[in-house]
């Protein structure tokens, strides 16, 4: 028995080496004790077909599809919120956000990261898939410095990169999408099929906007995004304690009833407790240069 196990182990090691050296594998046509190379190739193809069939049943959301979903989510939100048409403020917010995105693990999405300020006193922010991030003037008013703004943007970028928005799409939509793709296959999309695709698309977008605007992410997802935000802040050189400062300011404005961000976010002090160990003991002392340029960029004039 032991002799057989040793021979098997030796054969496995040899075969793995051969598998990684296709040129050498082409020199042999039979593997002793296993069978012909042709038989092995047929078995491999069978395994791949079974794996492919399972994959085809549920469509994967590619970066390109994520982009179109994200655009639609942002456009749906912008049907309800007015943008703040303040070029200097939007340019500044984009610079902060794009710096953070560049030092993240996913510096490029299909269409890139884009930030827009909403002209709303509500304290809120929305991270649409693909990197379309909207933050309200009400939320910016809670920030006293660039570091706190960076904390907000880092948190929203993290939601995008952790695919929390896409995760809100019901599995049945992805199964429907997979079936439509396979049925369509090589043909151009006819009108009936396009209608069906658009219906699935609309429902998927609806799943995400409902999460962003009504039910909110889970506590675990908010903690995950907060912890990832702390990493981004550190990588860029912002003070991680800015996140704690920001959450404490939000707590001061946390309404007693579930409206605005209170509807979609857990109590800020719960978030502070969950992220305190990641932030560390250092206090928050925003550098004057970043406080000043923050105030300059977001002034009304």
């Amino acid at each position: 028995m032991r002799g057989l196990a040793l021979k098997t182990a030796a054969a496995l090691a040899g075969l793995l080496l051969l598998a990684a050296w296709p040129a050498a594998a082409g020199l042999i046509d039979t593997i002793p004790g296993v069978g012909s190379v042709g038989e092995i190739r047929r078995r491999v193809q069978q395994v791949q077909r079974v794996a492919g069939a399972a994959q085809r049943a549920t469509a994967e959301i590619t970066p390109r599809q994520e982009y179109y979903i994200g655009r639609a989510v942002a456009a749906t939100i912008l049907k309800q919120y007015r943008p703040w048409d303040h070029p200097a403020a939007n340019a500044y917010v984009n610079k902060v956000g794009q710096c953070l995105a560049l030092v993240s693990d996913v510096p490029q999405t299909f269409g890139g990261y884009h930030f827009l300020v909403l002209d709303s006193p509500e304290i809120n922010a929305f991270a649409a898939p693909g990197g379309f991030i909207l933050v309200s003037r009400g939320l910016l008013a809670c920030c006293g410095s660039e570091d706190e703004l960076a904390a907000v943007l880092a948190h929203e970028i993290s939601h995008v990169q952790l695919k929390h928005g896409l995760g809100a799409i019901k599995k049945s939509r992805l199964v429907d999408l997979g079936r439509l793709l396979i049925r369509e296959g090589v043909r151009e999309v006819g009108s009936a099929r396009l209608n069906q695709l658009t219906r699935v698309f609309g429902r998927s977008v609806g799943d995400i906007t409902k999460t962003l605007m009504i039910s909110g992410y889970s506590r675990a997802q908010e903690t995950e995004a907060d912890r990832a935000a702390v990493k981004l802040l550190r990588r860029m050189g912002y003070q991680p304690a800015a996140l704690i400062s920001m959450l404490q300011k939000m707590k001061a404005r946390y309404p007693k009833t579930k409206v605005g961000f209170a509807k979609t976010h857990p109590d800020p002090l719960e978030r502070v407790r969950a992220v305190r160990s990641a932030v560390g003991a250092a206090g928050f002392h925003p550098p004057a240069v970043r406080v000043q340029r923050f105030q300059n960029a977001l002034s009304e004039g």
Partner: protein, 157 residues
């Protein structure tokens, strides 16, 4: 003996599948406009763009960056802009027998056609989404200067 034969066959299957992935000397651009940089640095100078689906030869690797060449354009691209999957763009027609994922990569599924139909439904306003996308797109050196002015030293600055 039958158990040993099954174990060997499984190893061959796993080995052959792994070999296919490990020998990827080419990759495809998986973003709309892949940024090709002068050096493997996030705030590096841009030397060119490559469109979605473009194939690149991988010449080396440094951290999260791949050294690539496509035609006369050579430089560095971040791994988040590349995929080992082949993206087949053939004027909307795709070869038969492909999976749903490959079809999605080729532009089937949620695409511009679907967006146009969704826009027409009136449920969304794309005016500022389009503005967002086409304005305030800052390059690496501009962002590096902004970071330095603010006393930030991240990202290799």
């Amino acid at each position: 003996m039958r158990l040993a034969r099954r174990a060997v066959l499984s190893a061959v299957v796993i080995g052959l599948l792994w070999a296919g992935a490990a020998t990827a000397g080419t990759m495809s651009v998986t973003v709309k406009q892949g940024r090709v940089l002068e050096a493997p640095m996030v705030f590096g100078r841009l030397v060119g763009h490559l469109p979605y689906g473009a194939r690149v030869s991988v010449l080396g690797r440094h951290g999260a960056f791949y050294q690539v060449r496509s035609g006369s354009l050579a430089g560095w691209m971040h791994r988040s802009a590349l995929t080992t999957k082949r993206i087949v763009l053939t004027g909307g027609r795709v070869r038969s027998g492909v999976s749903g994922s490959e079809l999605a990569l080729a532009g089937k599924g949620f695409n511009q056609q679907v967006e146009n139909r969704y826009r027409a439904s009136g449920r969304a306003d794309y005016t500022w989404v389009d503005k967002m996308e086409h304005s305030n797109n800052f390059d690496g050196p501009t962002l590096a200067a902004f970071a330095r002015q603010g006393g930030l030293r991240g990202g290799g600055l």
